[in-house]
Amino acid sequence: MKYSLSIFSGLIFLNLFVWYWVIGGAPDKALNLYFLKAGQGDSELAVLPGGIKVLIDGGPGTETLSSLSEIMPPTSRYIDMIILSHPQLDHFGGLIPILERYKVGVFVWNGETANDESWKDLTKLIENHRVAAVSVAKGDVIRYAGNSFEIFAPSEGSLSADPNDDSIIARLSSGGISALFTGDATASLEQYVASNGGIKSDILKVSHHGSKNSSIASFLSAVLPRLAVVEVGENTYGHPTPAALQRLANVGASVYRTDKDGTVHVRATGGLFTVATSGQ
């Protein structure tokens, strides 16, 4: 009898806890896209209508984790899908602490491995946590309800000397808008994708942190983005380069950058979208 009161109040609390999240945790019906402040590296979170979470790249380190936990409610510990554009540390490093902390449904990547000790850390985690791993190539489509990811690159079996040349280029169509994710796409990859056509998108994740060798004019005019986001942090490469920014301005895109604007949040519903930034 001594403990009955505490057990009773414990159960009451658990009940309230569950109902609070059942009622308060109802997913948004819009598409929420976050270009995360992740330092010098790439990471984007797409929360599809219905609350499905897709993380594209993980940034270089734990900064992604902090940005992510500012967005996801504390009780939400599941990421439905991770897409890794290509196996380079500034894109997958931050996935290691994320995989340690969140349950992940499926890991999608281009099938290439990195000759790097840290890559082993990542693959070990994927194996130990029994995350399904799927490699994709040009022509594949990932669908969920009315949303889809179309894969434009790399072409099947491609194994380039520069891993950037094999970046996954994918277009998300959801909430009546489209967003193109390009990883570290180089000029030649952009050229290839542009020449195949059909890549017009409302929003563009700018290739390779705004490197001068990417974001070529022919590619940008094929995409014709209204909004372009450069994911960049403190770096010695001069990213984003004035040349790339100029070419983006030439096609009339409004440009946001994560080093100045912090996490960039796009909310889209019925073909219209709004942009909010977290600030530095």
Binding site: P74, R77, G93
Partner: protein
């Protein structure tokens, strides 16, 4: 400090053993201070002889006069220690070193930092800075190629920045220690799984003293609000673990058993966090603090503190002059012991506890603040004027936070749902604590 011993009396019978022990410890420390200041050995010896002679002639206290010669012994011991622990490693030139990772690597945002204890022909330890990945762990045997650079802070190991690193083999450390680290890692992983990054970082700081994941702004805010000590695994944290554990155990078993189990767990906990010198000190201080809480005998307490300090210095005499955490812990403890009762009387904390015993907390933090004032002023050149207030607002909730943190971590082994539910309460407490720390650390200072 308590009353001076019976110096004026010409009867030696009143010079009790505890007084002798106290003065022996004080003289030993004076010797260490003298040697740390690089005073000439002859000057120390001569001064000691002079003091001894004066004491002998004026007081006729032979034992005390004799004890004065512990001063040169302390100085000798300091130099002996310095020579026998000399770091043998060439500085500033390219070298190839082999050694074992001897602590748990700290994982910062993009780097990891750990100590490598060197193997022949070199000796000592170097602090190695490497990119965050691939991760190394305690017991890994590494071959490092690069330059060792002298650490500008005395008493800290020399550093090696981004050396070329080759992994030779794992599991060369103490198996029991490695096992305890594994337990700690799995506990922290359970915390990480249910708390948002910022909050799990603070929780791990409060429970295990891990500060690696803090952002620079937060570290700054902690410093400016005068609350860094809550994440420093100080005697305070260890004492809370002891108090909470013994209170919980008191429900289950007899008091006596509870006491011993508490001691056992405290020892294991300390080993788990790495048994680094600072934590061992914290454990000893925590125990001393616990004893102090339960018996308020000031006089015997004076001895306990002094002897504890002397004992720690036997293991490492460089602490006294070159280790901020050592100095701060003792300064805080002295403040609490000497000034605490004064403030407590002012606030009548013993009679009216107030909400969650705020008077008690205010009395102790103010006392500790004043105690550490000289040290923090000399070392950091700044004080946190609102520290008593920020501490008052935060400290109230630290025991509950720690308790919930442990429960969250343990529940993680059984049910992620339950762990999440308890973690949610902890999440709110941590949110409040972070708010206060930022408020006082960034906006009000």
């Amino acid at each position: 400090m308590g009353k001076l011993p019976n110096l004026g009396s010409n009867s030696n019978s009143k010079f009790h053993l505890y007084n002798a022990a106290f003065w022996a410890a004080v003289f030993f420390m004076s010797g260490i201070v003298a040697a740390s200041l690089k005073l000439n050995g002859y000057i120390i010896l001569f001064t000691a002889a002079f003091i001894a002679a004066t004491l002998y002639l004026t007081n006729k206290n032979r034992i005390l006069a004799l004890l004065v010669f512990i001063i040169p012994f302390g100085a000798f011991y300091y130099n002996f220690y310095a020579v026998s622990h000399k770091q043998v490693v060439p500085l500033g030139e390219n070298v190839i070193l082999e050694g074992m990772v001897s602590n748990e690597p700290q994982e910062r945002s993009s780097v990891q930092i750990f100590l490598v204890s060197l193997m022949r022909p070199y000796s000592g330890s170097v602090e190695v800075y490497l990119p965050a990945y691939p991760r190394f762990q305690y017991g890994d045997l590494l071959k490092l190629t690069g330059k060792v650079e002298e650490n500008v802070y005395a008493g800290r190991p020399d550093g090696m920045y981004l050396p070329k690193t080759e992994f030779i083999g794992g599991s060369h450390g103490n198996a029991f220690q490695a096992f305890l680290f594994k337990i700690k890692d799995s506990l922290t992983a359970n915390i990480d799984k249910v708390l948002p990054a910022e909050k799990s970082a603070l929780m791990k700081g409060i429970i295990f003293g891990e500060r690696a994941e803090f952002t620079k702004q937060f570290t700054d805010a902690l410093k400016k609000s005068g609350t860094t000590h809550i994440v420093a695994l100080s005697g305070y944290n260890v004492a809370i673990i002891g108090i909470v554990l013994s209170d919980v155990l008191a429900f289950i078993c007899s008091r006596r058993k509870a006491f011993w189990i508490t001691i056992l767990f405290t020892v294991l906990f300390v080993l788990m966090t790495g048994a680094e010198a600072s934590v061992v000190r914290a454990a000893i201080m925590g125990t001393v603090l616990l004893v102090a809480e339960r018996s308020s005998r000031l006089y015997s307490f004076r001895n306990a503190i002094t002897l504890t300090a002397a004992l720690m210095l036997v293991f490492n005499p460089t602490l006294l002059m070159f280790n901020a955490s050592f100095e701060l812990s003792f300064a805080a403890l002295l403040g609490i012991v000497i000034l605490g009762p004064v403030f407590r009387k002012w606030l009548s904390a013993d009679k009216a506890g107030g909400f969650l015993g705020w008077r008690e907390n205010l009395a102790e933090t103010t006392a500790a603040q004043i105690g550490t004032l000289p040290v923090s002023l000399t070392l950091f050149g700044f004080v946190a004027p609102l520290a008593p207030l920020s501490n008052l607002l935060v400290l109230e909730f630290i025991p509950a936070t720690m308790f919930l943190g442990f429960i969250t971590a343990l529940l993680g082994y059984f049910s992620s749902g339950l762990s999440l539910a308890v973690g949610w309460i902890a999440n709110m407490l941590l949110g409040y604590e972070i708010f206060i720390i930022n408020l006082f650390g960034a906006h009000l200072s």
